[in-house]
Symmetry: C3
Subunit: 510 residues, 3 copies
């Protein structure tokens, strides 16, 4: 323990970089003690934090900021946290009783997994908004949807054919580690305490640490030991929690490069993405509020979907929101058709007219009861268009939007035709799936021809719609997994069916 | 109107950023009035313009620049435009009689769609060169080519199979909005006035605005209301018109990421692309002329294809050209074979020996009458190699070029073999297309096996050639849609044919 | 020759940029003479060099640097090289007798191809380490492996089907230029002197130059005229040889973008890649040693695999190594299964239990005799984890590693099941390959179904493992050539087999 004390003192004297004088930065005793060891052990995250706003500003000072420039949304912040910068201890020892993973560590009650409820101490509005964001429900929206579970099993499971004739085909479900490494890497894992272990540490001898299931993970819908949902660090990367970084499209890329949600790659090839890539180095990504034209001259993901924007006169163009669908009328991610956005972030309650847990029926009709109204769609469209108008005239914006909604109709129509063929293939018993009143029978995703069908809407339909939405029709709308592949895949399905009709005449009714 | 006047005054006093004194920047009264409202309405583009060269320099000052550093190519500029910076009104009210989309707007005759002929007032040489560039003919070269129209229809159209047996297959042609959102997003749309509408505006009450067909669009071959071709803003992004941006490869990426023209992705994985990505942040992308070694140490797209380059002694290494094929002997974009560059930018007049509107025949021979001569190819090769020699010795450049031309021969030979199989498949009536003296019968792109064939040259052959051309043989030449996929696809075509021979014995002559 | 002398004088007076006074930069007479012409001829590389460390520092000064900051590893440097900066002549006239490509050039004995043995004069430890790195054996490990040669032939060769029935299928081997442009672009070519030619040069009249086979090339395993292996310029790009550039992931991207080794694209979508892309512009990529947290806050490829790292206390976290497998226990590049790293960099001596030149057998067992022991794996894992711990706690690192090794087991199991089906297909004579005591018969890579099988491990298995390894499970682990495609391809193989069983009943034993 002597070495800790020694390091602790050194740390206090060295002070924090980027600040004129150490005296100005009131670090709590607890945090200083953390830094004593951890600045040696994990210099990467400690230095990241040292350069962060959290390390330079007390909550009291943050609360004192007036108007749109204020970055904390809570109206009050507990007194004991107000006058020290937000360091290790401020987050990792907060609300110890609420965290089942709290453990004794060098005299402190520490928890490893910081949750949105911890961040809410200062950022309550954002935490509240995010809890209503569909992303915060990403775990159960996948794990609790029986149809999506069939897709998941067919993708993650281990396919085995055996015997001389390679029959039968069995799909063994994936283990937890595989799941955590695949779908749930972005959706989030459920983190729970599995037990404790004692480790012999270099700096402090034997110490006891918790062992987790589902750790590490920073998925947007992560279920934390304190039963909250989400991880702010998914976008606000620990431990700098840099707004600059969260506003750059690379952050969104972590989960949205595609090909299912090809947002980043489409953006990066769009005019907007080009302006960001070519000129963005001189933009101000730190400013709050964020001024169109002055701080940036083209949107990143955050501009359209999240950030508080003003014009050069100081008028608010769009309010900050962490419930990102506030600006999204359509959900262009086809399930299996693009559809009005779901009303609720929990989508497991949605039933289409055939009882499937899907927002659309296979015939293209919407499960409207569960989806937002036209009026709400108009409202959201208006909010999004306010952002567009920051750089484009009305006739440009209207023209763009007409084309965008046309692409939704177009790709939905194409998905319908592909689905009609697939349905006929199921009827002919050339592939195996039934959807009836009792629910689905079989898995519509575990045969070669079914996968071709799923690509028409899950991969190609999405590329086309994202390309339209972001004004990037050229490559991603055509040859780069767009219409060239969509039409080509339908030709393949047709070709597959024609051959089966010839080879299996007994299956085709005369 | 009071509010407009008020804003106008504010604007004059605030002045233009990046300039020492507002007095130095002579903004025309008309432009000042535009800014009065539009700086509030569209701060993104107004600020982009404010930071641009156009907002800081009068045409007279631009004309006074001596030698290679001059950026305007017109010898004379009308007096009434000479002494004010190039603002909103200078472009959007120019030549009102020539623009059918001219409308009355707050006392001015304004047109929305600025055309290359407007830009030509100061940049006449570039406008003239670009009009001879194949890119300026991008609309009709696609829309006016009956064979390409078959490909377009098969890609953009809606494929429908119907009836119990999913017969017949019908392809409904795409609507205009789909076309504008796909192929013509890059090629360009035809913009025309559809009518007028009155909108109630926030700042000026009721105003009348034109409604366009084909708007918005910034494709390189756009057909403007004034019947000119092209949009300078495709590369010189409005409203900063930054040369820095046009010289960065991200600009070219907007239309050339692939997979049909995989220029950007191949470049980005090449040594040149690596140097740009790793070290380019310190380059000078604004300098005119552009000095090899001093301003940049590796080529971007613009270096090889467009820009005026000098060496550190000040000697011209390559002249500026906006007729980009001046440095391109081979057209490595296979149609269906790589071939000497077409003589004329209008390629619809080309006929191969079978009467098809293609620069090559299916047997690999060139439609030489329509393509540049060997002598012209040598001249262009020499021009391009002058650029290479800026960083490479002669034996390096010769070795590179030998390999490049070998890859053209190699991929053309592979395309020929794939086409021989495809031709046999057509002869066996296993797929349906005939090319004879009367022109083509059927569509060679609307069946599954035909699409596999088209990928061999349209996707894989192009990847291989672009990879060779840019010294990026590794991944894009092999596993990333290169030779691995080219050979694999031929194996698939073979496999397809063998099975059909067994299943349809009646189609195979004994 | 007068012009040369003249330029030479000019050069001396102009001096070297970025240095306060020309007098401080002792350029050798020989190098000055080179610069006399070549700064005019090849300003790109000359200016690159002028801004490099080589142009600013003498070997003596470099040797005088104390401790971890020293960048030269040789203990002694020949006196005649000690007191001049490292210019053209220092490298290109070194050890003339060892270079068969040495030729007389303006009174100097110059060689074109600088080899690692030249660089070893100052950087002996790195040259020695790299010679033990598997990358330095990249040419023969491919060219000398009979099984890989079958894959290479099937990819690079020209496939021809002929006759009325498009039979037989013949694959003509690729020519040397195609090979150099494809696999050997990254692996490296064998460079040899083919002869000499006389060229009339602009600045010095008639001069004689060597003509090479295999030139240009900068592959990591290049076989140089002096019989050494490798090219330092593969990563340390000529002629700036910038450590900054070598440390950026774009350098690795040149050969590792995928899809066979998808390291770069996976990295770029990972949290680490996001931090680099979003915040890396402010990092110090030049510092030696490289301080975690201070110089950078997230790893690039070099951080984990190559560089000398210290923490903010100055303690060494990881030693520099150019034998990159020192930190790599598993070789996650499946051949055909992921396996413990080979013991020796020459992998052509490896035989699996069936006599194939593969580190694993088709049944999934390892050729353990040729692979590192568990103890060595533990050691390497420990070294790599030291780097992880710079930013992550032990439970994070352990959790990550468990998942990583689980993914290796998972993908190996999936590869095994795919291979069992493929083996059955071979047994049924539906495709053609046999592996027996006498070695392989036929080519397991030259039929459509075999290529589908090869994709399961070469493309999809690798994506999944790289995604896990770099904490990027989301897209590349699932839809972007991950588990979605792996499972989908097995469904396709199953579908293919079912149809053949029906169409070729005679091939299926009853």
């Amino acid at each position: 323990m002597k070495r800790i004390a020694c390091l602790f003192v050194v740390c206090l004297f060295i002070g924090i970089p980027n600040i004129s004088s150490a005296a100005e930065v009131p670090v709590s005793d607890a945090t200083a003690e953390c830094l004593g060891c951890h600045s040696t052990l994990h210099p990467g995250i400690v230095e990241g934090w040292r350069n962060s706003r959290h390390a330079r500003m007390t909550p009291r000072a943050a609360l004192a900021v007036k108007g749109l420039a204020r970055r904390v949304s809570s109206k009050e912040i507990p007194k004991d946290l107000s006058d020290k910068v937000v360091g290790c201890a401020e987050c990792h020892t907060q609300r110890p009783e609420a965290h089942p993973d709290t453990f004794q560590h060098n005299g402190y009650e520490v928890h490893v997994v910081v949750s949105p409820q911890d961040c809410a101490t200062c950022h309550s509005v954002e935490a509240e908004q995010f809890s209503k964001n569909i992303m915060s429900h990403a775990v159960n929206n996948l794990a609790g949807n029986p149809l999506y579970q069939r897709l998941q099993k067919s993708i993650l499971g281990t396919v085995k054919l055996s015997g001389k004739n390679m029959q039968p085909m069995v799909i063994q479900p994936a283990d937890d580690a595989t799941k955590a490494d695949a779908c749930y890497y972005c959706h989030g894992t459920k983190i729970s305490i599995k037990g404790y272990e004692t480790r012999n540490t270099e700096l402090a001898g034997e110490l006891k640490f918790p062992i987790f299931d589902g750790w590490p993970n920073q998925g947007v819908g992560r279920i934390n030991p304190d039963n909250t949902r989400g991880s702010c660090a998914a976008c606000h990367t620990r431990h700098s929690f840099s707004i600059k970084m969260a506003r750059k499209p690379n952050t969104c890329k972590e989960c949205h490069i595609g090909p299912d949600v090809p947002a980043f790659k489409v953006y990066s090839a769009s005019k907007h993405g080009n302006i960001f890539s070519s000129l963005g180095a001189s933009w101000n990504f730190d400013a709050v509020p964020w001024t169109i034209g002055k701080d940036f001259t083209a949107p990143t993901c955050a501009v359209c979907h999240v950030s508080l924007l003003i014009n050069t006169d100081g008028d608010v163009v769009a309010k900050r929101t962490h419930q990102m669908n506030g600006r999204i009328p359509w959900r262009i991610f086809g399930l299996i058709y693009a559809h009005p956005h779901p009303k609720e972030p929990d989508t497991t309650t949605i039933r289409n007219k055939n009882g499937l847990t899907l927002p659309t029926a296979l015939d293209g009709s919407f499960a409207s009861k569960y989806l937002i109204t036209k009026k709400e769609m108009m409202k959201r469209r208006h909010t999004m268009q306010s952002v567009c108008l920051g750089c484009h005239g009305t006739s440009w914006v209207n023209g763009h939007w007409r084309r965008f909604e046309n692409s939704i109709r177009e790709t939905n129509a194409k998905t319908l035709h592909a689905t009609e063929i697939m349905t006929r293939i199921w009827q002919l018993d050339l592939a195996h799936f039934k959807s009836n009143a009792k629910g689905p029978e079989g898995n519509p995703f575990d045969e070669a021809i079914e996968r071709k069908w799923s690509k028409t809407w899950l991969i190609y339909g999405n590329h086309i719609r994202f390309a339209t939405a972001m004004g990037c029709g050229g490559d991603y709308g055509v040859f780069a997994q767009g219409r060239y592949d969509l039409s080509g895949t339908i030709f393949q399905i047709h070709d597959w069916l024609e051959l089966r009709k010839k080879v299996y005449p007994e299956k085709v009714q005369p």
